[in-house]
C-alpha cells in the first residue's frame, strides 16, 4: 500500500478507538433487492431527534419493517428469520438522498458491518467509512449472482478481505476486487478515524488559518 500510514507511527494521541477494527469478514447476507434506497427509508426523519448515538438499529428501515401499529410487516426481508448476517446486499444507488449520518449509524447499530451494492450515493458511502461500516461496490453482474445465490440458499456466505480488497462468494468462488482509498482503508484496518489524524496536524491548520482572507 501507499505510504499514507501516519496512523501507524505511534505519534498520535489517540484517546479512544473510534470503532472496531475491520480486517476480514465472513458472513451470510441479508438481501434487499430495491434500487435507489434513500436515507429517509433507512432511517425516517422522525427518528433524528435523538441527542445520542445509540439505539438507531431498532428503527432501521422502520416504515418498511413495521406497520403503523408497530407490528412487523411479514413480507419485509429484515423480518424474515431465514436471512441473517453482517452483510447487507442492497440494490443500485444505495443511500441516496439526505446526508444524515444516522442512516449509517442505523446500519451499524443493527449489526451490519458491510454494505454491498453495485452503486452507492456519495455522502452515504463517506458516512459509512467514517463510522466503521465498509461499503463494497461490485459489478451489477456479481451483485445479481450474489442475490440469486442467497435466494437459493440463505446460508450462503460471502467473504470480505479488506487488506486484499476482495469480495468472494464462497459457494461459487466468484471473486471481485473493490476500490477503497488507501487512507480510509488504513483507518478501517486500525479502527481509527479522521479526527485522530487531524488532531495531529493542529499547528499546520493554525498557520493556514492565519493566511485566510476572511
Amino acid at each position: 500500500m501507499a505510504a499514507c500510514c501516519p496512523l501507524n507511527t505511534g505519534k498520535l494521541n489517540i484517546k479512544k478507538m473510534a470503532y472496531d477494527k475491520f480486517t476480514t469478514l465472513t458472513s451470510s447476507v441479508v438481501p434487499l433487492p430495491i434500487e435507489n434506497v434513500d436515507t429517509d427509508q433507512i432511517i425516517p426523519a422522525r427518528f433524528l431527534k435523538a441527542t445520542t448515538r445509540d439505539g438507531f438499529g431498532d428503527n432501521l428501515f422502520r416504515d418498511w419493517r413495521y406497520n403503523g401499529d408497530n407490528t412487523p410487516k411479514e413480507d419485509f426481508i429484515l423480518n424474515n428469520p431465514i436471512y441473517t448476517g453482517k452483510i447487507l446486499l442492497g440494490g443500485k444507488n444505495f443511500g441516496s438522498g439526505s446526508s444524515r449520518e444516522h442512516a449509517a449509524w442505523a446500519v451499524y447499530d443493527y449489526g451490519f458491518r458491510c454494505v454491498v451494492s453495485s452503486f452507492f450515493a456519495d455522502i452515504f458511502k463517506n458516512n459509512c467509512l467514517n463510522i466503521g461500516v465498509l461499503p463494497v461496490q461490485i459489478s451489477p453482474e456479481f451483485s445479481n449472482e450474489i442475490f440469486e445465490a442467497v435466494y437459493a440458499d440463505p446460508k450462503t456466505e460471502v467473504e470480505i478481505d479488506l487488506k486484499a480488497q476482495t469480495i468472494t462468494l464462497l459457494s461459487s468462488g466468484t471473486k471481485e476486487s473493490f476500490d477503497i482509498n488507501g487512507y480510509k482503508k488504513d483507518n478501517m484496518l486500525n479502527g481509527f478515524d479522521d479526527i485522530d489524524y487531524l488532531q495531529n496536524m493542529k499547528s499546520e491548520i493554525e498557520a493556514f488559518t492565519e493566511s485566510r482572507p476572511f
Binding site: 500500500m1 501507499a2 505510504a3 499514507c4 484517546k15 479512544k16 430495491i34 434500487e35 435507489n36 434513500d38 429517509d40 427509508q41 425516517p44 426523519a45 422522525r46 433524528l48 431527534k49 435523538a50 441527542t51 445520542t52 448515538r53 416504515d63 403503523g68 443500485k92 444507488n93 441516496s96 438522498g97 439526505s98 446526508s99 444524515r100 449520518e101 444516522h102 449509517a104 452503486f119 450515493a121 456519495d122 455522502i123 463517506n126 458516512n127 467514517n130 463510522i131 482509498n181 488507501g182 487512507y183 480510509k184 478515524d193 479522521d194 479526527i195 489524524y197 487531524l198 488532531q199 496536524m201 493542529k202 499546520e204 491548520i205 493556514f208 488559518t209 485566510r212 482572507p213 476572511f214
Partner: protein, 464 residues
C-alpha cells in the same frame, strides 16, 4: 495552467494533500443546527476536545421548530431537548446561536446569505445536504455527516477527496411561467438522481447569469438531488451587490481586498471539465414530479412517462407510481390536491412569495386545500409584510406561518397525513418525506399557487 472556478476555490483551501487519500480541506464557515450537531458535541466531549475557532461556526435552530406560536415553549419533548442541547452547546463553546425567536432565525441556508456569512470563494459546510445552496455565491458549499461536523468543530478541517468537475450550460430565454425551480427540476429529470454523483457542478450560461441571487440559490440548492456534491455559479456584479453591507461581510479596506480576489473567481476560457452538459432553455416548461424521487419530474403539460423510458428499473417505477396512486401515461393536470406547502431552503425566499402572490392575488384559496406558507427566515417574513404580500395572502384566505424547515422534512407538527397529496416547493418527494404515507408533488411557487387556488394540479400559465 488554466483552471475552473471550482479548482480555484478548492485548491486554495487544501491544507495538506495525502498521497492516495483525501485532501485535508479547510472550512471557512460552518453552520450547525439542532438535529445533526448534538451527537458531534457528544463526540467532542467524550474525547475531551475543544472547539478550535468558535467564531467560524454559527448555530441556527430550524429543522424541528414549530411554525406557529414560537413564543411558547416547544411542546414536543424530543424537539425541545434538541433545541436546548443546541443552545447549551453553543453557549458552552462560545458559538453564536440564533435560536427560536432570535431576529436572525430562519432556515440555516436562508439566513447564511442574508447575514453575509456566505461569501464568494469561501468554503461552507453544514450537516444538511442542501448546503449546496450557498454555491450561488461562488462558494464551495456542501453537506457533511455528523462525524465531519465534529471534525470541523475541533480542527476546522475535513478530509475530502477532490470531486470531479461537471459544467451544465443553459442558454436562451426562459419561457413564460418557468422559474429557477423548474430549471432545477428539469436538469434533475434529465440527469436522474444519480447522474451527477461524484461531481461538483458549475452552472454556466445566460439563464443563470440572468437569474436573481434568489433564483441561483434555488438552482444550486437542488444540485444535491442529482447526486452532485454541490453546485456553484461564478460571482458577478449581482453577487457583490447582494452581499455588500450585510452584517458579516468584510468592510472598508477588507472589502476592497476581497473584491480584488473575488473578481478572479471565474473559470478560465480554456479550462476543462470531466463532463460538460448543454441544455436549451426553450425546452423547459413549468415542471412537476409524479413519483417518489426528484428525478421523476416532467413538464406539467406532459403525460407521466412509461416505465421503459425511466431509469431505475420497472419494479422501482411501479412501486413509486403505486405509492403515488398514479398510472403510466396519465396527465397530471386536474389531479386533486389536499395540501400546498410554500417554503424550505429551496423556495422560501422573498422572490418565491412574490411569485406565489402573483397568482393568488385577487383569487381565493380552494376549500379542499390546506396551505402552509412558511417563510425561510424572519427577514423574509418582515419583507412579506413590508411589500404588502401578507395582505394579498390574507385576502385570498391564506395564513402566514413563522419561519423554519416545516413540512420540508416534517419533523415538527407540519405533517401531511397518509395518503394525502401535497404540492410542495421543497426539494424531496421521497416516500413519507412530508409525513408517514404522504404523497409529494414537487413544483415551483407558481405551480403551488395555481394548485392552491384551484384545488387541483393546474398549469400556472393559464392563470398568469
Amino acid at each position: 495552467m488554466s483552471s475552473t472556478l471550482f479548482d480555484k476555490v478548492w485548491d486554495s483551501h487544501v491544507v495538506r494533500n495525502i498521497a492516495d487519500g483525501p485532501d485535508v480541506f479547510y472550512i471557512d464557515r460552518h453552520l450547525i443546527h439542532e438535529v445533526t450537531s448534538p451527537v458531534a458535541f457528544v463526540g467532542l466531549k467524550s474525547r475531551g476536545l475543544s472547539v478550535l475557532y468558535p467564531d467560524r461556526t454559527f448555530a441556527v435552530a430550524d429543522h424541528n421548530t414549530p411554525t406557529i406560536n414560537q413564543h411558547l415553549p416547544v411542546e414536543d419533548p424530543l424537539s425541545a431537548n434538541q433545541l436546548k442541547t443546541l443552545e447549551d452547546n453553543a453557549n458552552q463553546y462560545g458559538i453564536s446561536h440564533w435560536g427560536l425567536g432570535h431576529q436572525n432565525n430562519g432556515i440555516v441556508h436562508v439566513v447564511g446569505p442574508e447575514n453575509g456569512i456566505t461569501l464568494p470563494g469561501a468554503t461552507i459546510v453544514c450537516g444538511d445536504s442542501h448546503t449546496s445552496t450557498h454555491g450561488a455565491f461562488g462558494a464551495i458549499a456542501f453537506g457533511i455527516g455528523t462525524s465531519e461536523v465534529e471534525m470541523v468543530l475541533t480542527t476546522q478541517c475535513i478530509m475530502q477527496p477532490k470531486p470531479k468537475k461537471m459544467r451544465i450550460s443553459i442558454n436562451g430565454p426562459l419561457s413564460k411561467g418557468v422559474t429557477p425551480k423548474d430549471v432545477g427540476l428539469y436538469i434533475i429529470s434529465q440527469l436522474t438522481t444519480s447522474g451527477a454523483t461524484g461531481y461538483f457542478v458549475e452552472y454556466a450560461g445566460d439563464v443563470f447569469e440572468n437569474m436573481t441571487m434568489e433564483g441561483r440559490m434555488t438552482v444550486c440548492n437542488l444540485s444535491i438531488e442529482m447526486g452532485a456534491r454541490g453546485g456553484m455559479i461564478a460571482p458577478d456584479e449581482k453577487t457583490f451587490e447582494y452581499i455588500k453591507g450585510r452584517a458579516m461581510t468584510p468592510k472598508g479596506a477588507d472589502w476592497d481586498k476581497a473584491m480584488t480576489y473575488w473578481k478572479t473567481l471565474k473559470t478560465d476560457e480554456d479550462a476543462t471539465f470531466d463532463k460538460e452538459l448543454v441544455f436549451n432553455a426553450a425546452d423547459i416548461e413549468p415542471m412537476i414530479t409524479y413519483g417518489t424521487n426528484p428525478g421523476m419530474g416532467m413538464g406539467i403539460s406532459k403525460n407521466i412517462p412509461s416505465a421503459e423510458s425511466v431509469e431505475g428499473g420497472k419494479s422501482t417505477y411501479d412501486k413509486s407510481l403505486a405509492y403515488m396512486g398514479y398510472a403510466e401515461n396519465e396527465s397530471m393536470i386536474g389531479k386533486k390536491i389536499d395540501y400546498v406547502f410554500i417554503g424550505s431552503c429551496t423556495n422560501g425566499r422573498i422572490e418565491d412569495f412574490r411569485a406565489f402572490a402573483s397568482i393568488v392575488k385577487g383569487r381565493k384559496k380552494a376549500d379542499n386545500v390546506t396551505a402552509w406558507l412558511v417563510p425561510g427566515s424572519h427577514i423574509v417574513e418582515a419583507k412579506i409584510k413590508e411589500e404588502g404580500l401578507l395582505d394579498i395572502f390574507e385576502t385570498a384566505g391564506f395564513v402566514l406561518r413563522e419561519p423554519g424547515c416545516s413540512a420540508c422534512l416534517a419533523m415538527n407538527d407540519d405533517k401531511v397525513p397518509a395518503g394525502k397529496y401535497a404540492v410542495s416547493t421543497s426539494n424531496r418527494n421521497f416516500e413519507g418525506r412530508q409525513g408517514p404515507g404522504s404523497r409529494t408533488l414537487l413544483a415551483s411557487p407558481l405551480v403551488a399557487a395555481a394548485a392552491a387556488v384551484t384545488g387541483v394540479v393546474t398549469d400556472p400559465r393559464d392563470l398568469l
